[in-house]
Structures are given as C-alpha cells and as structure tokens.
C-alpha cells in the first residue's frame, strides 16, 4: 500500500509541471495584452510599453517561463491586474467555501444517489423503479444554472425560506448544493441501478440465495461490495467535474468560492489570476483522482499489485 501511494504521489510533480507548461503556453498565446489592460483604456502607447517593461513582458518567452517557474516555486503566481499584487492569498482564502460546497454536494450525491439506485434495482420495473428512473431523466435534463434560478424563484423570492445568495450560514448552503448535486445524484443513481442489476444476475448471488440468505442480506453483504468499484469511479470522476460545475453555481449564488473568482478574473482578463486558479483546479483534480485510486485499493486490496 505504501509503495503504491509513493508511486502515485511521485507522479504528481511531473504531471503538474506538464500542466504548468501547457497553461503557460496557452496564456501566452491567447489574445489580450496584459500591459494594456493594466494601463487602462485611456493609456497612451508609451505608457503601455513602460508597464510592459516593468512587468518583464518584453523579455524572451524562455526567460519569462523560467521566471514563471521560479515564481511558482515560491508561491508567486505573478502580478494580478485585478488585485495589483500576487493573487495567491486571495485565491487561497476562497478555497474553503468551494471545498464546503463540493463536500456537501458529494455527500448529498452519495446519500441520495446510492440508495435511490439500489432501490430502483431492487424493485426493478416496478413503480419505485419507474419513479426513480423518471426523476433521474428529469434531473439529468435540467441544467444546473436553470435549476438554481428556479430554486431561487421558488424558495427565496416566492416563499422566503432561504437566502437567495452569498454564504451566510447553513441555510445558504442548501440551494447551491441542490443545484450542484442534482445532476450527480441522477448519474450515481443510474449507474448504481445498472451495476446492481448486473451483479444480481451473477452466480454468486444465486448461490447466496440458495444457501438461504434473504434478498436484502444478499444485496447488502455481497452485491453492494462488488458493485462499489464502478460506482466509486463514477463518484470520483464526477467529483472532479464538480470543480467545473462549481464555477457556474458559485456565480449564480454569488458564492464566495474559487469558481466565482475565476469568472471575475476572466471578465477583466486577469490572466495571471485565471492561470493560478486553473492550476489550482488541475492540482485539485489530480488529488481527487489519487483519492479515488486509494479508495479502489481499500475496496479491493488485490488492485494494489495491479
């Protein structure tokens, strides 16, 4: 297990370096002149050139890349035109809000999606299955920003139960979590249903039933354990995509997270800020994948050597 972990961890730095390089190339090739943005709309050409020199943007690309790497090593993401400084502290202070929203969404996704899928499989083709499967289709079809707007209209504006925006305590977490997790609940439920139905047809289930176990015991003791690997994969992958979904949902609910900051950076073309947040997202994605792989091994120790 330790060796497995060590190998996986050792892979992260080279992958991260590759990502940093790709991001650097992308952000150097997108249009939009940082110096002109910082100088403002009324700046003259001479002033723009002066700022370009100040920021070292006139240096050869290789030299800029080296400085970028050296900066990153010391936690310097470069000059942010929105914050007029290294944006790292501003990014980090928003991480908890995003993590909270992700964690509550994953929790809701598992707590609702998993039992719903198992229930649909257990009552296959009977009314609980039909009800759950229809709900799954509806949730998959509803885009999260639309769902969020509908929730705000109903629960805040019409009924006045929940705050419509911002992070102001536990109540304010409910709607963003619902908007963000709806699609994921549906995905997990559908996946679980399929996997459980498939497993229930296998010989070992027949054996378990034949030796006298009732259906519920066979389901919980044998089938679920075997069904877990594909389900965990889906949950892990979706947790990664939560990062993307959080951008939209955070903006809609004015949630003070990293995704909202990313859009602020994009709207004012603060490329160093956007680059920093993107890098954080990539590292987050890598860590989530690592966590999923560790979970595989916990569920099925044989994978450790595979």
């Amino acid at each position: 297990m330790l060796r497995f972990l060590a190998i996986r961890l050792a892979l992260i730095p080279p992958v991260a370096l590759g990502v940093i390089t790709i991001l650097f190339v992308i952000f150097k090739s997108v249009p939009g002149d940082q110096a002109a943005i910082i100088a403002g709309a009324t700046a003259t050409q001479a002033e723009i050139e002066q700022i370009r020199t100040q920021l070292g943007l006139d240096k050869p690309l290789v030299e800029q890349y080296a400085r970028h790497l050296a900066g990153l090593a010391t936690g310097d993401l470069g000059y942010s035109s929105t914050f007029r400084a290294n944006p790292l502290p501003r990014i980090l202070e928003r991480v908890p809000a995003t993590l909270l929203l992700m964690a509550s969404s994953i929790l809701v996704m598992v707590l609702i999606g998993l039992p719903a899928g198992v229930a649909a499989a257990a009552w296959q083709n009977r009314w609980p299955d039909l009800a759950i499967s229809s709900a799954v289709v509806a949730l998959l079809a509803a885009p999260n920003f639309w769902l969020g707007m509908m929730l705000i209209a109903l629960l805040s504006v019409h009924l006045g139960w929940l705050p419509s925006f911002g992070f102001t305590g536990a109540l304010s977490l409910i709607m963003p979590t619902m908007a963000l997790s709806a699609r994921l609940i549906a995905l997990v439920a559908r996946m679980t249903r399929g996997v459980v139905i498939e497993e229930m047809r296998k010989d070992y289930v027949r054996t378990a039933l034949a030796k006298g176990l009732d259906r519920r015991a066979a389901l919980s003791r044998h089938v679920l354990r075997n069904a877990m690997i594909p389900i965990v994969t889906v949950i892990g992958l979706q947790a990664g995509f939560l990062l993307g979904g959080s951008v939209v949902v955070e903006r809609l609910f004015a949630w003070p997270g990293v995704g909202d900051l990313l859009l602020t950076g994009v709207s004012v073309r603060d490329y160093n800020l956007v680059q920093g947040v993107t890098l954080l997202f990539v590292v987050g994605f890598l860590l989530i994948n690592l966590a999923v792989e560790i979970l595989y091994v916990v569920i099925n120790p044989r994978l450790c050597h595979g």
């Binding site: 009324t42 928003r94 705000i152 004015a254």
Partner: protein, 523 residues
C-alpha cells in the same frame, strides 16, 4: 427506534422547521440602519494610485464613500467643493490655488492639511506609483504649500481640466500616516477622510463600512453601508426582491418591465456619458469621401435601435458628446433617410454593379447589446446597397484587433464608445478626435478613425488654454459642430445606466459615468 419512528420524527422536525422558521424577508427588513448595495462588479482594491480602484466601477463606487477629494461631482456631474473650500485657476491656466477647509480629518485622526494633500498629489503624479489615469495627472508639474491650508498646484502647460482631475475618483486623498505605514496596505486597508470608514473588507466578496463620527460635513445618512458582489443579474434582482439588498446596479434593460411590476421596487436611471458608434477607417479611399460618410449615417435607423434593442433605455445622440458631458452642445438630430443615402452613394459612384464593400468589426459582450446593434446596422447598410462583412470578436481581444498601426488595420467600421470618467467634454473630444502624431502608427489615445481636422485641433487647443468657462464651451461647441458635420463615425446610441432600489430607500444617485453612488443614501 424502529423505522416508522425514525420517519415520523424526521417528518415532525421538518414540518416544525418550515412552520417556525423565520421568513428571510422579515429578517431583511429589520435593522434599517444598514444600507446594502448588491454590485454587479466586485470591489477588489481601494488605493487611488497603484493601479487605482478595481474592479470598475465597483471600486470607485466604494471609494466615493471612503475618501473625500479636493473637489466633488454632484449627481449632474457639476463640480462642487469638497475638501477644498475653493480652487481657483490662475488666468494663464499654469497654476491653481486650493484653499482647504480647516475642520476635515482622516479616519485615523490626522488632519487634512496642505502637507497631506501635497504627499497625495505627488504620489498621483509619480508614474511608477500611479501607472493608470495618466492623462489626468501628467499635466501637473509640482505642488507647493505656502501655509497649512493653502496648496498651489503648478502645471507644465495650460490645463483647464485640472478641476475635473481633482474631482475624479483617482484624486481621492489618502491619510499620509497610512501611506507612511506602508503604501502596499492601502489597497486592502484604505484610510481616507470620507463619510464612512472601513469596518471589514474581503476583496471580491464584501465590504462593510461604518459612519465616521469625525466627518467634517456631519454624520452621513446611514450607520452602515454593506457592498456585496452579486455578478449574476438574475441573482441581483432576486436579492433585491427578497429585501436582502436595498440597492442594485446594472439592471438589464430587458428585465426592467418585469421588475417594475413589483410594487416594492423603484427603477432609477440616467443617460450615460458614452456615445456608442462605429469608427470609420478614414485611411480607406471610399471613406475619405464625405458623401459616403454622410450616406452611412443616413442609412441607419437609430430610433429603432434605441426602441427595440434597448427598450427606450437609450437615445440617439445629437453631438459627438453625450448629453451630460461638461461642454456638450446639441448640434443636430440624426435622421434616417435610406432613399437619400442611396442617392448619395450613387453620386459617389457606387451602385448595384459596383457596390461599396465594408468590413465591420464588433466585439461580443463589451458594449451593451453590441452584436445585436452590429447586425441591425449591417442589415440597414445592406438595404442601402452597401455590402457588409461582419467580424465578431471576443471581448478580451477586441482592443488588440482594432487598435493597430495603419498597415495592420483590418476594419472599415469598428464599434467603439468612450466613457470620459472625469465628465470633461474636452478630454472626450481630445481622446477621440485630436489628430494623431503619426497616423501610420497606433493611435495616440483613441483616435482609431485617424480623424484629422486642423480646425478641430486648434479649437481643442483654444479650449485647453482658457480659464473662462464660457470661452471654453464656445470652442468645444464649434469643435462638436465640425466633427458632427465630418461624420468620422456612424453615430448610434447613448445608453442609460439602470439601477433599482427598494421603495423607501432615499438618496441613491445614478451618475452618468456608470456609478451608482450610495454615500448620501439611507434605507
């Protein structure tokens, strides 16, 4: 507990929660000493120099509550005294004498005296510490302080717009003690002499201000001001309707009629200072012909654009300047006459066999309704017999695409609008229509059309070198007539800035320069 008991308990708790839980609308109405402003942009930094207040306009809107300046604008962009009791320009416009009021002090208790003002102005003049807003501060040569309450500003050349610079947001006066303690901290911990001081600030999320007891002009209208960033328009409107915020800015015009149906909401609007139009590339042979330029303007149905795209929250201009700009003069209304446009094009030698072909550049999401407006214009021009090729450019790369040296300009028509943040008509006209030093290079400021009229240059110079407001306005008026007649643009519309407040909120001002100002507001 068996299963039934568990479900019953959960159900009871949930029902009780719904029945007993307080209505957030009721909570929001309590404690009305606080005024909350939901802003479409985020307050990010609060230093008038070092890049000035970001993001725009949220940072400026907050700064107007925290800092006082030597001079101020009222809601109609008229310049009025603030920290200065008076500011008199010398007749030769080479200096100005500013008399400070004696009773003003900063939030940290230090007095607003001549030395404090000198430190601030010298910081604003310093290119390294203040790289933005250069046209406002470059004309200053030096600052002298003959006594505690007198500041003399010396200029490099006659500069009649100095009062506009002093009233501009970037002219905010910062406590010298705070500057000395660390200039880098001002952006996060601003200390000014304005009616409100900072209680807490999370950049990009929330700024809480509380009334400053020692304000020279008495206690402000509210005890607390809270600025919250709500970028999404629909969310902003929901927040206003639930009463979670009292004021919102930037209401999309398409949603105004829906919002008006809510009896608790009031709409505030004022025409902006930014006329939108298409700059004509005057280096192209066909566009050098005055008849063609006139025809292009006659071919565009400006009224329809204001009514259909902007629901009447826009007006067609009647001068190169917007209605509330200082020095604006009404020249003549735009007319829509496609028949005459066709006739003029025919006179210039274009017809169905040999049509005029123009490349039109529009940004996506930079100006209000930009793509819709561009499509209407292209369609109208096509009906007048002009072939138009539209290129839509992502907002982030638009300036790079249009602001090129002459050889690399790919457009014949490029959408543009200039917002003179100091409300000065002279600044506006000089930025757009003063001849470039070299038309082959990139435009010096924003004269992308490469307009060149020696008469206009002379009038702008005349306006800039007279202290007499009437003489200045007369020169600007003549310049506006000349430019309007020359048609270097296809003139389109001046949009209104639309904000909304809850009924009962008083004192919110929507300034023509995009700002929604709450420093005199109360809930």
């Amino acid at each position: 507990m068996n299963r039934r008991e568990v479900f019953t308990t959960i159900g009871t708790v949930a029902a009780a929660g719904v029945a007993l839980h307080p209505d957030i609308r009721a909570l929001a109405q309590a404690g009305k000493e606080t005024l909350t402003f939901g802003q479409s942009t985020a307050v990010l930094t609060l230093d008038p120099a070092q890049g000035s207040f970001t993001g725009y306009p949220a940072g400026y809107e907050a700064a107007l509550c925290i800092y006082d300046r030597l001079l101020d604008f009222d809601a109609n962009m008229k310049i009025v005294p603030q920290l200065a009791e008076s500011a008199a320009m010398a007749p030769d416009l080479m200096s100005a004498t500013v008399k400070l009021r004696g009773n003003a002090k900063f939030h940290d208790g230090t007095p607003v005296n001549a030395a404090a003002v000198k430190i601030n102005l010298e910081r604003l003049m310093d290119k390294a510490r203040n790289p933005t807003n250069r046209p406002l501060w470059d004309p200053l040569a030096s600052v002298e302080t003959p006594d505690e309450r007198t500041v003399v500003i010396k200029l490099k050349a006659p500069f009649s717009q100095l009062p506009n610079s002093l009233a501009h947001g970037s002219g905010s006066i910062v406590s010298p003690a705070a500057l000395q303690a660390g200039e880098g901290n001002i952006a996060k911990n601003p200390v000014g002499a304005g009616p409100y001081k900072v209680a807490s600030f999370s950049p990009g999320q929330e700024l809480v201000l509380e009334a400053f007891d020692g304000y020279w002009n008495g206690a402000p209208a509210s005890k607390r001001l809270v600025f919250k960033t709500i970028s999404e328009a629909a969310t902003r409107i929901s927040a206003l309707r639930t009463g979670a915020v009292d004021v919102i800015d930037n209401v999309p015009v398409a949603l105004v009629s829906q919002l008006k149906q809510d009896p608790a909401i009031e709409i505030l609007s004022s025409p902006g200072l930014r006329p939108i139009g298409f700059a004509l590339n005057l280096t192209r042979a066909p566009l050098k012909d005055a008849k063609v330029r006139q025809a292009l303007n006659l071919a565009v149905p400006v009224k329809t654009i204001a009514e259909r795209v902007f629901f009447n929250f826009a007006k067609a201009p009647d001068s190169p300047l917007a209605f509330n700009t200082v020095g604006y003069k009404s020249v003549s209304p735009l007319t829509y006459d496609p028949a005459k446009a066709r006739a003029l094009l025919a006179e210039a030698g274009y017809d169905a066999q040999k049509p005029l072909t123009l490349k039109l550049f529009t940004p996506q999401g930079l100006f209000p309704g930009d793509v819709s407006v561009a499509e209407i214009v292209a369609n109208a021009l096509q009906q007048a017999g002009v072939k138009v090729e539209i290129t839509k450019i992502e907002a982030a790369s638009y300036w790079d695409a249009v602001r090129q040296d002459a050889a690399n300009v790919k457009w014949d028509l490029a959408m543009f609008g200039f917002n003179p943040s100091n409300a000065s008509g002279l600044y506006h006209l000089a930025s757009l229509f003063k001849s470039n030093a070299d038309d082959a290079g990139k435009p010096d400021v924003w004269n992308m059309a490469r307009y060149r009229n020696p008469e206009v240059d002379a009038l702008l110079k005349e306006a800039d070198s007279t202290a007499d407001q009437a003489a200045q306005n007369a020169a600007l008026g003549k310049a506006q007539e000349l430019i309007w007649r020359d048609n270097p643009y296809i003139w389109l519309q001046i949009n209104e800035n639309v904000s909304a407040v809850r009924k009962g909120v008083a004192g919110v001002e929507v300034w023509p320069i995009v700002f929604t100002v709450v420093r005199r507001a109360r809930a």
